[in-house]
C-alpha cells in the first residue's frame, strides 16, 4: 500500500499565489467552485440591493446581513480559530451599539459624535477584552465559558441599571448626521430609477465597512499570528512549549475580535437609529451568532458570510413563508397549527438541530468536501 500513499494530495496551501484577488483574500481562496459562486452571488446582491429591490424590507434585511457578517466573522476568529468559547461576545456588540447611541443622543447628530462614540466604545471594549483575557483565559475552558456567561449577564443588568445613560430597558432612539437621514438627497434626480437618499448612503456605509473589516479579519487569520491561534486551539500546552505565549496570543485574539464586534454594534446602531439591551446585548443574539458560525462553517471565515445571509433571511422570511403555508393547509387538522406563523420558533429550533447534523463542518466545509471527493 502504504496507507499514506493513498491519501490524495490536498490543496497545496503552501504555494503562494499572485493576483489582486488572491492578495485581497490573503491567499485563502474559497477552494470550491460552488462556494465561490455562492459567495459572489451574496456579495453582489448585497452590493446592489438598493438598486435591485424597492421598499425598506430588502434594504434592512441586507443591512442586517452585513452587520452580522462582521459580528459572526469576528466571533469565528475567537471560536473557530482560537478555540475560545465565549458567551460575552454580545457584550462588545452592545458596547459598540451604545457607543454610537450615547454619542449621538448626548452630543447631537453629527459626524464628530459618531467618531467620539465609536472611539470611546472601541477603547472600552479593548480594556474589557484585555481584562477578561488576562483574568480568565488561564482557567479551564469550560469555566471560562461559564464566567463569560455570568459577565455578559452582569453587563446586561448594568446597562439596565444605568438607565440615565443607556435608556435602561427602553434603549435609546436618536437622530443620525444629516447625510444619513432619509430626507437627504445625494442627487436631485433618481439614478437607475432609484432616489439615492440618506438611507442608501447609510446602507453603503454599512456595506463598505463590512467589506473592509471582513478582509482585514481574513488577513489576520491567515497571518502567522492566525496560524499560532490555530496551534493554540489544537494543543495549548504544546504551543506554549514551542515558545508561543499562549495567554498573550489569546488575549490579542480576544481584543481583535472584540474590536470587530464593537464596530458591528456601531454599524447596527447607525442603521437602526436605535439601540437597546434586546437589540445588541441579549443572550438570544449570542445564540444566533453561535448558530451562524456553525451553520456557515467554523474556522473558515467565509462561513460567516453564508451563515449570516442564510440565518437573517430565514429569520426575516420564515414567518411570512409559514403564514402562506398555514393558509394553504387550512382545513387539514393539526397541520395548519404547526405551521402557524406563531409557531415559527418551533421550526427555527428544529432547523437549529437539523443544520448542526446536516452540516457538521458547516456549509463551507460541506462544499469544500464535495469538491474533493
Amino acid at each position: 500500500m502504504t496507507a499514506t500513499s493513498v491519501i490524495p494530495a490536498p490543496f497545496d496551501e503552501s504555494r503562494s499565489r499572485a493576483g489582486f484577488l488572491s492578495r485581497a483574500l490573503s491567499s485563502d481562496l474559497p477552494r470550491s467552485r460552488a462556494l465561490s459562486f455562492i459567495l459572489i452571488a451574496i456579495v453582489l446582491t448585497l452590493a446592489l440591493t438598493p438598486l435591485l429591490f424597492s421598499g425598506s424590507q430588502p434594504l434592512s434585511t441586507a443591512a442586517k446581513i452585513c452587520v452580522f457578517i462582521v459580528l459572526v466573522a469576528s466571533y469565528d476568529l475567537l471560536l473557530g480559530y482560537s478555540g475560545i468559547v465565549s458567551f460575552a461576545h454580545t457584550m462588545f456588540f452592545g458596547i459598540g451599539g451604545y457607543g454610537i447611541a450615547i454619542g449621538l443622543e448626548k452630543l447631537g447628530p453629527d459626524w464628530s459624535s459618531v467618531a467620539i462614540g465609536l472611539i470611546a466604545a472601541l477603547a472600552l471594549s479593548a480594556v474589557l477584552a484585555i481584562a477578561i483575557g488576562l483574568l480568565s483565559l488561564r482557567v479551564r475552558a469550560i469555566f471560562f465559558s461559564m464566567i463569560t456567561l455570568a459577565v455578559a449577564s452582569a453587563m446586561a443588568v448594568l446597562a439596565s441599571q444605568m438607565s440615565g445613560i443607556t435608556g435602561g430597558e427602553d434603549g435609546l432612539s436618536f437622530q443620525l448626521p444629516y447625510a444619513l437621514r432619509p430626507a437627504f438627497r445625494v442627487f436631485s434626480e433618481p439614478v437607475f430609477g432609484v432616489m439615492i437618499n440618506g438611507r442608501i448612503v447609510a446602507y453603503y456605509l454599512v456595506f463598505f465597512v463590512t467589506v473592509g473589516v471582513f478582509l482585514l479579519l481574513l488577513r489576520i487569520v491567515n497571518s502567522p499570528f492566525g496560524r499560532v491561534l490555530q496551534a493554540i486551539r489544537e494543543n495549548e500546552f504544546r504551543a506554549e512549549a514551542l515558545g508561543y505565549r499562549v495567554v498573550a496570543y489569546r488575549t490579542a485574539a480576544s481584543v481583535i475580535s472584540a474590536l470587530a464586534a464593537t464596530i458591528a454594534g456601531g454599524l447596527l446602531a447607525l442603521w437602526l437609529r436605535y439601540n437597546g439591551p434586546d437589540t445588541t446585548l441579549s443572550f438570544a443574539i449570542m445564540i444566533d451568532i453561535l448558530l451562524m458560525v456553525v451553520i456557515g462553517g467554523m474556522g473558515t471565515m467565509y462561513g460567516a458570510i453564508i451563515g449570516a445571509a442564510l440565518f437573517v433571511l430565514a429569520q426575516s422570511y420564515l414567518q411570512v413563508l409559514m403564514d402562506a403555508g398555514s393558509k394553504a393547509l387550512a382545513g387539514i387538522p393539526l397541520l395548519p397549527n404547526l405551521v402557524h406563523p406563531d409557531r415559527w420558533l418551533l421550526w427555527l429550533g428544529a432547523l437549529f438541530v437539523i443544520s448542526v447534523y446536516a452540516f457538521p463542518g458547516g456549509i463551507v466545509g460541506r462544499l469544500r468536501q464535495g469538491k474533493q471527493s
Binding site: S56, D170, D278
Partner: protein
C-alpha cells in the same frame, strides 16, 4: 380602495398571551363596530398583523415596512414598552398615525411623544393613581412599596408617591424595597418590609409594583397579618390573578375586569368572547377593542385616512370602549379612562370569578399630569 391598518404585537416570546389578547380584542372590536361588515365609509378594512417578538429593533423595522412597503394608513402597537418607544420616531418620519396599545411606559405620551402618537392603553401614572385611589381617604396610612430594581420599578414607585401626594395626602410611603428583576425568593425583602412597617400607626399596606411572576403569594405566606399588614396588588391578566383567590378580602386597583363595566359593548364582548374562546375577555382584550374603536371613530370623524385630518379629529376625541367612554387628551394624546377599585371575592363560582367591584374610579378623579414638552 381598502383601508389598511397594521397591528404590531409581540406575538412570540414570553408575552405571547398578552399579544394574543390584543389581537383578539382588536378584531372583535372591528367586527362589533362595523357590525360584521368590516367596512367603514364604504371602504374595506384590511388588517396586517406583524410579530415583533418583543424586540425593539424588529418593531421599528416592521413599522417602517408597514408604512413604506405595505402602505398602511395607520398602525397599532405594541406589547413591549421598549419596542413601542423605538417605534415613535418612525411614525414621525413617515408622517403616519400610531396608536399605542398596550404599552404602558409614561415616556410614550411623555418626553418621547410626537404629534403622530396616540395611546388607548393606560399609562403607568394612571395605574399609580388607580392604586392611590384604592387607599382609604382618611386616617393614617403607611405604605411600603415592593418593586423591581430597574427603571420600570423606580418610575412606578415615584408615580405612586406623586399620586398619593395628589389625591391621598393622609397616606405616606415609608419604605421602598427593590428586589432583583427576576427574584423568586422574597423572604429577605419581606423581612425588611415587615421590620419597617410593623411599628407604624394606622393602616399598613404593602403596595406591589411588579411585571411578570407576581411575588404576592410569597409575601402572603410569610403572614404579614401577624403585624396587621395588608397587601395591595395591582391588576393583571386573569391567569395571573388566579393566585388572588387564596387571599379573599384583599383590595387593589385594576385597569379592566370583565364583570365591572356595565355597557352594551362590554356585554357583547363578554358574551361573544365566552362563546368563542370559552373564557371571559381579559385585560388586553379590552385594550385591543378600545384601539379598534379609536381607529374607526377617528376615520369616520375625519372622513378618511388623511393623516392631518385624522390627528385633527382625534385630538380631544371621545370614543366608546368596553371600559366606557375614553377621551384622547388634546395635549398629549393619552386616552383618559376609568379605573376600578376591587376586592377579592371570598367564594367565586369558577376560576375566573375573582373580584368584587368596590368603586369605579372615574377619569376625572385622577388628575394625570401632562408630561410631554409640547
Amino acid at each position: 380602495q381598502d383601508i389598511k391598518i397594521a397591528l404590531i404585537a409581540g406575538k412570540t416570546g414570553p408575552l405571547e398571551a398578552y399579544a394574543k389578547q390584543t389581537e383578539a380584542g382588536f378584531m372583535m372590536g372591528l367586527e362589533y363596530l362595523t357590525k360584521g361588515t368590516m367596512t367603514v365609509g364604504g371602504r374595506k378594512i384590511s388588517v396586517i398583523v406583524k410579530d415583533d417578538q418583543l424586540k425593539a429593533d424588529l418593531a421599528k423595522t416592521l413599522l417602517e415596512q408597514a408604512y413604506n412597503d405595505d402602505k398602511v394608513d395607520l398602525a397599532i402597537g405594541t406589547t413591549s414598552s421598549a419596542a413601542a418607544l423605538a417605534m415613535l420616531p418612525v411614525a414621525e418620519e413617515n408622517g403616519k398615525v400610531l396608536i399605542v396599545e398596550p404599552a404602558v411606559a409614561d415616556a410614550i405620551t411623555g418626553e418621547k411623544w410626537n404629534r403622530f402618537i396616540f395611546r388607548t392603553a393606560r399609562n403607568s401614572t394612571q395605574d399609580a393613581y388607580g392604586a392611590a385611589a384604592a387607599v382609604p381617604a382618611t386616617g393614617d396610612v403607611s405604605i411600603a412599596t415592593l418593586a423591581q430594581d430597574y427603571a420600570f420599578g423606580k418610575d412606578g414607585v415615584a408615580a405612586v408617591k406623586t399620586a398619593l401626594a395628589e389625591i391621598r395626602p393622609n397616606a405616606k410611603v415609608v419604605f421602598e424595597e427593590y428586589a432583583p428583576q427576576n427574584a423568586t425568593d422574597f423572604t429577605a425583602s419581606a423581612q425588611r418590609i415587615f421590620d419597617a412597617l410593623k411599628d407604624k400607626p394606622g393602616k399598613k399596606i404593602i403596595n406591589i409594583i411588579w411585571a411578570g411572576q407576581h411575588p404576592l403569594p410569597k409575601i402572603a405566606d410569610l403572614k404579614p397579618e401577624r403585624f396587621g399588614i395588608e397587601i395591595a396588588p395591582g391588576g393583571n391578566i386573569l391567569p395571573a390573578m388566579q393566585i388572588y383567590k387564596n387571599y379573599p378580602g384583599m383590595e387593589g386597583a385594576v385597569y379592566y375586569y370583565y364583570a365591572f363595566p356595565k355597557n352594551p359593548m362590554n356585554d357583547w364582548l363578554v358574551a361573544e368572547h365566552q362563546k368563542r374562546f370559552n373564557a371571559p375577555p381579559d385585560f388586553f382584550t379590552a385594550g385591543g377593542f378600545a384601539a379598534a374603536s379609536a381607529a374607526l371613530t377617528a376615520i369616520e370623524k375625519a372622513g378618511g385616512t388623511d393623516t392631518e385630518k385624522l390627528i385633527k379629529a382625534m385630538e380631544g376625541m371621545s370614543f366608546e370602549t368596553p371600559k366606557g367612554t375614553m377621551t384622547f387628551r388634546k395635549e398629549d394624546h393619552q386616552a383618559l379612562q376609568a379605573m376600578y377599585h376591587f376586592k377579592v371575592k371570598a367564594d367565586g363560582k369558577d376560576a375566573n370569578d375573582l373580584l368584587d367591584l368596590v368603586n369605579t374610579i372615574p377619569a376625572d378623579k385622577m388628575p394625570i399630569p401632562v408630561r410631554n414638552k409640547r
